[in-house]
């Protein structure tokens, strides 16, 4: 059946089964491939998007559950204040290796920063432990979140 959902501020009409995960609508129907497939079971975080600002695993989010909510993906996260700071910190701190999981890492980190301007190590563990990185960039992710938080408090 047909659904109209708001992604990155624009309405999109899609004709798929209601139980289709948002991930596949984004990637295969709309061609927005920045959001990644990792596990299909909310175990790895690669598919993380924001739904009304909340970090959400798109691989288990059915399209019929979204209704009027606003979906934000990595393609547009740079237009949010916390997203732009996180992206800059990621580049300044050379976080990325293969990069495949980083869309999801950035979405989780920017949701954290938007709701918590000065996260502690425990806050970072809570927000980021659902995101797996096989290249092991955890050390730098933690440091980059703190870096982004500093520019946050400085009003940067």
């Amino acid at each position: 059946m047909a659904f109209t959902i708001s992604i990155n501020g624009s309405p999109h009409s899609i004709d798929v089964d209601g139980d289709t995960p948002l991930l596949w609508v984004l990637r295969d129907v709309l061609g927005m491939t920045g959001t990644k497939f990792g596990c299909g079971a909310a175990l790895c975080g690669a598919c993380t998007v924001h739904i009304d600002g909340v970090a959400t695993r798109s691989c288990i989010t059915s399209i019929d559950s979204i209704e009027k909510s606003a979906v934000t993906t990595v393609e547009a996260i740079g237009t949010t204040a916390s997203g732009a700071r996180i992206q800059k910190a990621w580049l300044d701190h050379e976080v990325v290796q293969c990069g495949y999981c980083q869309s999801g890492q950035i979405m989780s980190a920017s949701a954290l920063l938007a709701s918590n301007s000065n996260p502690t190590d425990a806050d970072i563990d809570d927000a980021m432990s659902g995101n797996i990185c096989r290249c092991g960039t955890y050390v730098r992710i933690r440091e980059a979140i703190k870096l982004a938080a500093q520019t946050n408090t400085k009003g940067g």
């Binding site: 609508v25 596990c39 079971a41 980083q102 955890y138 050390v139 992710i141």
Partner: protein, 724 residues
Amino acid sequence: MVDRIASRSNETSLSRRGFLASAAAFGGGLVLSLNLPFGQSEAAAPGEFGPNAFIRIGSDGQVVLTMPYVEMGQGTYTSIPMLIAEELEVNLKQVRLEHAPPNEKLYANPLLGVQATGNSNAMRGGWKPLREAGATARIMLVAAAAKRWSVDPKSCRAQDGEVIHDASGRRLKYGELAADAAQMAVPERVTLKRPEDFKLIGTPAKRLDVSGKVNGTARYGIDARPPGVKVATLAQSPAFGGRVMSLDDTAATAVKGVRQIVRLDDAVAVVADHMGAAKKGLAALKIEWDDGPHAGLSSETVARELEQATLGSGAVAQNIGDADKAIAEAAIRVEAAYHLPFLAHATMEPMNCTVHFRDGECEIWIGTQAIARVQTMAAEAAGLPPAKVIVHNHLLGGGFGRRLEADCAVRAVQIARHVEGPVKVVWTREEDIQHDMYRPYWFDRISAGLDGQGRPVAWKNRFAGPSVIARWLPPGFKDGLDPDSTEGAIDLVYDLPNFHVQFTRVEPPGIPTGFWRSVGPSHNVFVTESFVDELAATAKQDAVAYRRALLGKSPRAKAVLDLAAEKSGWGQALPKGRGRGVALQFAFGSYMAQVAEVEVSKDGNVRVHRVVCAMDCGTVVNPDTVQAQLQSGVIFGTTAALYGEITLKNGRVEQANFDTYQMLRMNEAPAIDVHIVKSAEPPGGMGETGTSLIVPAIANAIFAATGRRLRKMPVDSNVLKQPA
């Protein structure tokens, strides 16, 4: 492994005349072609020049390197341009990299030999030839400028992408000279910069490949979307070697968006408009499988077979003195048996391959460490000559050895042959883990003799497992041995006067094995460094001091051991339940020592708090990449030590997704300190060293904390649990 086979012969035959040629570029400019040591590319006839890398300087001054090494997170796309830019005297940003295509028209030369990125060989292989190529291009550009100005080339110099004649103040940009430079003679010899004159090498450089990786624009194989592409997912026989016995696809074909069901002998694929429909269709299939000849296979049967094999005679990998005699006469004898499990790679990007099979031609989109292998094997599966198979390489969402294989390309071609138009075949995570090509299971039977002071006088190791090389690169397996299976088991850094190591190749039935990050050393370093630790404990000596006393012939090993001990606070008291473990290796051309600090809880759970790495990897090209790769390797190995295990039951893999095949996560990641020993030696490998060494460092730390010696990985918390 692979590059060792290559470099042995390259060392003697490396003649610059044979390795560089120049030509005018299509559209004006200079093209230098060179041969990078890369697998067995010297398999070409002697004297035959088979270039596999090209440097093009265009009339816009842009330097483009087309090369066979791929970027999979290890930073190669930044460190390789540094080598060229250093000698060419250009800004790093002026150098751009392209994936080497197997059949792009501009580079009509077929790529010879094995085209693959693995075994930490990119920097080791490219170190000399790429600097030589940069210097050669610079000399030819200077010669072109000198000719145009009618001055002596010696009176000109190169700087920041220009040739400058100081006496007259004249200068010309490389782009203006590139076409003329192509007409200049390739110099007979070049002199490379001395390390103290390096401007780029050794200075941290920002990675060149990252901006697209933070905003979703980077394209991996799984992101390929040729026009009209359909998406397929698949179920392969759960038991290795099984077949489809019956298929009922009535419910699957009724799923909205499902277009086609493809039935193969041993797999079924659902082709759909999108992966959501394909997965839903797959779940609706009713497949009955014939489990085939390996239906009874279990991990225990594999282990038993290996244990048995070590009792017989194997191929002797290294023999010094008479180990049997020395052990028989020793004051103390120590014996142990070690097991290492099968491991999956679990790259974050699940296996995938997009194929458009059409009349007499096949086009492939994939991210691979071995593009030529993909081309060859896909051609075979398609029934086409390799030249009719076009392969587009992409960024890799993790390689770790998994993408050295072409099994997924073959499978995708088999499916695509039944599909009209392009089809992207995407493995679910469950299929990816249950149909990997696994790090082998290994078994070692090892013994040593100690003298009255506890010093080892003899060492004997008999181990059994498969030879990945024998399948992947058959000429590399000779007389029952290959250089990968034995790396880290022989040529130890320690003084061991009587030494015997033998290997028995045993291929487990049914289950496919492959290269896994840190390859041979991922097995051998765990065994040797655990066993050296056992010897120290038997001799009641400090683990660092014990090793140190055996390093007379290895000053570089001693230096990293001392540095790791110092930086880790070795010998200082720790709270109860905590312990430090040390491990030391020479592998991939680099020396490294690690000290891991762990905490073991009452219920036997292990937490790795801190890892100190001291490394001598020769000349450091990009220090930031060295640090990142070590952090990466340590996390990868810690995952293996704490969780990594693929088990077999009834011919099938028992693990399926990240709930049953666990990964280390942010809240469990240790602090990792990296200390680099300055060195002017050629660069050693970096991408894998951290992985092989951390496993014994953790096991030895657990021994220090609990007195329990773990001879089987991964860590079993039941063994470590304290009685209530």
